[in-house]
């Protein structure tokens, strides 16, 4: 049996490693994505002060600190049995919109989007933000930098710091919003709406206007028929900050809808010996291995997962684009992994429109932003991180110190599906022992669509991932090395 290893720069900690095994015929037998990192937050947070958790857990990931900060804060609401004032909830959601704008913009323009905008077969050194600037012009590049910064600025105004904010407290938020800051946010959010609309036009022209791209999006190598999960509001619209968790089956029918506190009734995790990250699956369906279909408990989260799990978007322009996407790609649910990119743009539009709404809400500058908590107990908090459903669960002792912690982070939910997507992309491109050069690009595309943030286990989501392919024969002799 031959072995193909894709390893980002040798085997540095914090990187994923892909090993592909070929059978005697030289076709793909199986593929493994290993995550070689574990940091043990679940253990070392024990004994810490409960109110420190939003700040401690934000250090799980500096790319999505706001998601952890907010999941932690909501978990404390539940654990202290306190409901924040309405203005506090709105402020938290407004900060969250800033985070979604920043994070999705970062991914679309700096990381995943270049695959499409610059082209999937463009040389790797062009498939980045500089390549986009080259293709779309310096003015567009400056706009991208500006609007990503607007997202960060919204978080900073409300949270104190853009990376690792400080403001979350059980029962509310640490500071009301000043009128001059509200005005600044409204201006930035309004500009973001316009920016995303222009980005969508770029996406329509360059990507959807190219038949080859559309064919690739729809191709089998990038299709998985799985369950989908995401938070929804009362009208089953996508919601990042709050709501119930809804799961739809591979045919798009509602399969589950549950309150955060009931997550243990619906999600289980499995341990594999060959990776540090666990494999979540739907309890009711069970773990059937790395297979898709309605008999397998594998589910997907993130932009496409959320759009599939919901009935629509709560803001007008995002809803319009939502309808266009499903019409173009043949109805709900969309199983194409590459549609994650389109879904991501629709979500930035929603986040920007929602930020405008919230910034104009008369209550947003209310001074009532905190309620004092009750007795410490147990709580679960769920938000939608940019990369998917994020679950925090704490048990507090009588001194409000942490007794137990459970965390199911966004990318972890997608881990089984990412393994399968990589395997399938490889299967589509390796035949009779011939490893196509395009494999490097296409396998990378398969998993970059998920925007896998393994800083939640690893860090390779930030930027171009350097890959090394090593092909061994069954005697472990190196036959070929492909590198970029």
């Amino acid at each position: 049996m031959r072995e193909v290893t894709i390893n980002p720069i040798t085997r540095l900690e914090g990187h994923g490693k892909i090993t592909i095994f070929l059978n005697e015929q030289g076709n793909v037998e199986n593929a493994y994505l290993q995550i070689p990192e574990l940091r043990g937050f679940e253990r070392f947070c024990v004994g810490r002060k409960a109110e420190d958790m939003p700040q401690l857990t934000s250090r799980i990931c500096g790319v999505c600190p706001v998601a952890h900060h907010m999941a932690g804060t909501k978990t404390l609401d539940a654990a202290f049995n306190v409901e924040p004032p309405s203005a506090a909830k709105k402020l938290r959601e407004l900060m969250y919109c800033g985070y979604v704008i920043e994070d999705h913009t970062l991914h679309f323009f700096y990381l995943g989007g270049p695959d499409f905008i610059v082209g999937p077969d463009a040389p790797p050194e062009k498939r980045n933000i500089l390549g986009i600037i080259e293709k779309a012009g310096l003015e567009v590049g400056k706009e991208i930098i500006k609007h990503r910064a607007y997202g960060q600025r919204i978080v900073e105004i409300i949270g104190g710091k853009a990376i690792h904010p400080a403001c979350g407290l059980p029962g509310g938020i640490s500071k009301p919003l000043r009128e001059e800051d509200r005005q600044e946010i409204e201006k930035m959010a309004t500009s973001c709406v316009d920016f995303v609309k222009r980005s969508l036009k770029l996406f329509h022209d360059i990507v959807l206007g190219n038949e080859n791209y559309v064919e690739m999006i729809k191709s089998d190598a990038y299709t998985l028929k799985t369950y989908y999960m995401g938070l929804v509001d009362e009208d089953n619209n996508v919601n990042f900050y709050d709501g119930k968790v809804r799961v739809v089956d591979p045919n798009g029918n509602e399969f589950l809808k549950f309150a955060p506190k009931d997550y243990l009734n619906h999600i289980n995790e499995r341990v594999e010996e060959w990776t540090y990250v666990k494999m979540p699956y739907l309890k009711k369906v069970g773990w059937k291995g790395f297979v898709d279909g309605s008999d397998s408990g594998v589910y997907r989260v993130g932009p496409l997962g959320r759009l599939n799990a919901a009935d629509g978007m709560a803001t007008p322009s995002a809803q319009e684009e939502y309808e266009i996407m499903y019409k173009t790609l043949g109805g709900k649910p969309v199983h194409s992994t590459l549609a994650f990119h389109w879904a991501r743009l629709i979500e930035i539009l929603y986040a920007a429109e929602r930020a405008v709404e919230l910034s104009k809400d008369p209550e947003i500058t209310s001074k009532e932003v905190r309620n004092l908590p009750g007795k410490p107990g147990e709580g679960v908090g769920i938000v939608e991180a940019a990369r998917g459903t994020l679950i925090h669960h704490y048990v507090l002792d009588e001194d409000a110190l942490i007794k137990n912690v459970n965390l199911i982070v966004a990318t972890t939910n997608n881990y089984p599906a990412i393994c399968m997507s990589i395997r399938d992309a490889a299967k589509g491109l390796i035949h009779s022992g011939k490893v196509s050069e395009a494999l490097l690009n296409r396998v990378e595309m398969a998993f970059r669509a998920y925007d896998p943030c393994f800083a939640c286990a690893s860090h390779f989501a930030i930027g171009q991932m350097p890959l090394t392919f090593e092909i061994y024969n069954h005697e472990k002799k190196l036959l070929e090395r492909l590198q970029r």
């Binding site: 095994f21 420190d52 090394t468």
Partner: protein, 333 residues
């Protein structure tokens, strides 16, 4: 950004055990990055560029002018890269709290691998693991064999691993400190080696709530921030909330305090002090009147006061456990 000589500098950025926030903080200098690439070539940046480990090995010694190293050191790989980059760089900068002091992931030094494995893979409430499976460094799967790097027991700082020339504090470093460091380098105005590239003041010095006559401040009891709604115009410490400001180096503009939250100490110790946790405990003892008015308190009173401080380790050493004299919990054999 002005640079007098014509030759461009060579920069490297590297992360070890960190969250990625330091990398994002470099992006947060926004359009300034376009000025940086005018004066410096980035010769190694694994997250953003395709340059291999091997290529770094092949560089002549001292080939890199300045290497910004973020993240703590917790694996053999981290250590190998720290040593390699030290050898290849004229100037090595520990960038951010983790490489400077160990950071929040350094709190893992209260535990060890065995305990983490138990918690994550065995005792965990959502995990179904009847056969007690745990990841292994070498494992045979149906198709062949796979390897994983070992998970180590202790987190170390960069300076505990190699010689470090400068430190940029913060979790992550504030944008102003990052820009200032880059400009200082570009202008060739770096201070003596060993310096922390941050202002010579404490967070209190930058804090808008800093009371004028602090030496007279007395706090009768300790509150936790979630228990009270503090007066937004009054020093948090004065209101009994433990704020690490007096023991923490400034440069951040007291940004957490400006949104009504106490400083948690990410800037590290104040200038001319190496022990941040101890400095804060002593400041607190004096604020509680334990030093000046010893006669006022019985031993039981003192114990009662001290008992109000919950989780002293997480409070005073949130970012600095590996670099402190405590370093880690004693390992039971």
């Amino acid at each position: 950004m002005i640079r007098m000589t014509k030759e461009k500098l060579k920069f490297a950025f590297y992360w070890a055990a960190s969250c990625g926030g330091c990398e994002i903080s470099v992006l947060d200098i926004n359009e300034k990055i376009l000025e940086i690439v005018q004066v410096a070539d980035i010769v190694f940046w694994p997250v953003a560029m395709d340059i291999k480990y091997k290529d770094v090995e092949n560089m002549p010694d001292k080939h890199i002018d300045v290497c910004f190293f973020n993240g703590a050191v917790r694996t053999e790989e981290n250590e190998k890269m720290a040593k390699l980059l030290r050898k290849k760089s004229k100037t090595l900068i520990a960038y951010g709290s983790c490489s400077y002091m160990g950071g929040i992931p350094g709190l893992a030094n209260v535990t060890n691998r065995r305990e983490v494995f138990e918690e994550v893979y065995l005792k965990n409430v959502s995990t179904v693991n009847p056969n007690g499976v745990a990841p292994k460094t070498r494992v045979k799967v149906k198709e062949g064999e796979l390897e994983l790097p070992e998970f180590y027991d202790t987190v170390k700082t960069l300076a505990q691993t190699v010689n470090v020339d400068y430190y940029v504090p913060g979790c992550p470093p504030p944008v102003e400190l990052t820009i200032n460091a880059l400009e200082t380098i570009a202008k060739d105005e770096l201070p003596p080696k060993g310096s922390v590239l941050a202002p010579l003041k404490s967070v209190c010095d930058e804090c808008p709530l800093n009371p004028l006559k602090k030496e007279k401040m007395q706090i009768p009891e300790i509150h936790r921030i979630y228990e009270i709604i503090p007066d937004p115009n009054k020093c948090l410490l004065e209101q009994g909330i433990i704020c690490m400001g007096p023991a923490t180096r400034g440069g951040c503009g007291a940004r957490c305090i400006k949104v009504g939250m106490p400083c948690t100490g990410c800037g590290g110790p104040c200038p001319n002090s190496s022990a941040q946790g101890a400095a804060m405990m002593s400041a607190l003892a004096s604020l509680l009147g334990l030093e000046e008015e010893k006669q006022k308190y019985t031993e039981a009173d003192v114990e009662k006061l001290i008992a109000q401080i919950k989780d002293p380790l997480g409070t005073f050493y949130m970012y600095s456990l590996p670099s402190s004299i405590l370093r880690r919990k004693v390992m039971k054999k």
